[in-house]
Symmetry: C2
Subunit: 400 residues, 2 copies
Amino acid sequence: MTTPLHGVKIVEMTSVVLGPYACQMLGDLGADIIKIEPPAGDTNRNLGPYRTHKDMSSLFVNCNRNKRSLVLDLKSDRGKAAALKIIESADIVVHNFRPAAMERLGLDYEQVRKVNPQIIYCATYGYSKKGPYGNKGALDDSIQAASGIAALNEMVLGEPRYLPTVVADKTTGLFVVQAVLAALFHKERSGQGQEIEVPMFESLTSYVMVEHLWGQTFEPPIGKAGYIRLMAEHRKPYRTKDGLYLAVLPYWDAHWHTFCELSGNPELAEDPRFISMAERLKNINESYAATGRIIATRTRQEWLDLLGDTNVPMMVVNSLDDLVHDPHLEATGFWQEFDHPDEGRIRMSSPPMTFSETPASIRLMAPRLGEQSVDILREAGLAEDVIQEMLAAGETRQAG
Amino acid sequence: MTTPLHGVKIVEMTSVVLGPYACQMLGDLGADIIKIEPPAGDTNRNLGPYRTHKDMSSLFVNCNRNKRSLVLDLKSDRGKAAALKIIESADIVVHNFRPAAMERLGLDYEQVRKVNPQIIYCATYGYSKKGPYGNKGALDDSIQAASGIAALNEMVLGEPRYLPTVVADKTTGLFVVQAVLAALFHKERSGQGQEIEVPMFESLTSYVMVEHLWGQTFEPPIGKAGYIRLMAEHRKPYRTKDGLYLAVLPYWDAHWHTFCELSGNPELAEDPRFISMAERLKNINESYAATGRIIATRTRQEWLDLLGDTNVPMMVVNSLDDLVHDPHLEATGFWQEFDHPDEGRIRMSSPPMTFSETPASIRLMAPRLGEQSVDILREAGLAEDVIQEMLAAGETRQAG
């Protein structure tokens, strides 16, 4: 079986999480990803625990499988020329430099299209270059502040806080994949390439506002923005009698009736505050609190036994370490293990989607810095003496 | 200019957020989305504030633009036959029924491929049908508990909590779009359709673990899962002298030096705890706390003036209502307004990606329930008397 993107060639010039994660997903789908790194490497190579080599840290390994690494000093003439030579035969370029930096390098869309008019050129960074924030620097946290996420936490906690996951980088990465695939489909039908911009601020604002635009959906507004159920104090996993936590969500009317009946609280099903979904939403915090008081009366196992065969959505609260041994994920082979020649045995999550005909797959482990430099430069047709000169000048670098 | 998915026809049988949001993004990219709704409508039609009609609530409007609505009772013979007739000429089906429910309806992949062997058939629900949780019900919150998100919050707050946004539904929606587009590209090249499954649990676990697999990346593990910087107590927007909050992120060495210098704290740049990125990461909570103490000494405007021209990532904390009038988003035309014949003026976020040749676009506002029922049934070639009988029997319904 083939992969969906078999034969598609992508040149990645990104670092940290957003661009690397996006290109890793495209690699999982089968594309050949050439990751161009500066001589010092992707800054995230050194972030997180490592087994053997400091530059093969957990965070790098988890964002860079299915790629080959080519070191190029893009500020050198030969480095830049080599990049353009490789781009000549590529389908897609993804970069996360700010617009001005890419112009200075001479690798902006206008320059790149001269060597490959059909290229799909995707830039991703903090803020659209069309607006006044266009040259602002951005990190995940600043985009969480910009896009309302920190403010959502303020509505729950009384002070703005970032979420404990890099939601801005990763979600924008998913938009990058969407944009690139849509453009690739267009190119396949028409032969036409194009320039794409995927800004983090715009991506996250659109993502946050799906449910939170709320009263501001209408103009003039008929209320404030913010789906208040999600900020309710008692919306949380409930503590059971034995101090363990459980997500129990008697949300729809059928769920609520089942829950009230089986838990021995039939009067709650008749309570006017909770009698219908609409009433429960009006009294959502009381409804959550009432559920929490009931859950506190039995152990977690008692609840799992009592409600396990019903339709009421229920789930244990998995810790991160629990997930590595979750019985469902073990049964489906979600965690894959590979032996890396240097770094030992590596655990990776599978691509989460199942394709009956073109499965996504893990074919290459994350590369050492410059692991395929010479191979890739030869593939691109560079003369052997030029490659040797570039190695000697530090404009490229071969691992091992 | 055309859209990237111009001419692609998608049959959507989904409700709530995940499936509707995914199909809306595919609609933004230009696909013709036929949303099949039961006679009572998508359950989210009634969720949130509305201007005129209760079933045109904010949450529905924000997940269902660029679609046409067809009411069909899929449990009736004529309703099911009509769905299959429409699917005959479709490229893609997206549904979020649980596997057993779709089999009972006779609209599972095996049945659907009989009328359209080239169909891309994408199912999305809580847990992969290949594993032991395959028939569990799921809602956004239960998947947040399952996938480690509630536990991440416990590491910050001392008790597990859900995030104040439906991250499981929306992120899985982004994976649905990715999977469908990859399969569409494959179909364009090969003519081959296929079956796709996008489970929420697997999607979110892979998403959470990008940075959080951490010490469990290696086997045997060299530490626990969890990128602890993200759970640091003092990782948050800082309170300024005038009580306003500001995201200030002197993350890389150059940022840190600029920040220490300009804020009048050059000794901090020499402090051994903070002297390099590696040392700051080791002492991250102290580093955040030190930054917070400095930020408390000036007003927000003073900081914006002092650091605004530097590379230090900095951003105000926007409330949700602020975002509607953010000057950058206003300058780029991010918020679009449309006059709906019944519901008045509607505000919508633009697709966040810019395509130079095939822009995504908003072409249709969210439909009333069954707004295009008769049109779509006629397009599919149903006889006029059958349509009338279905209307009379309540197996379809025409709005207005």
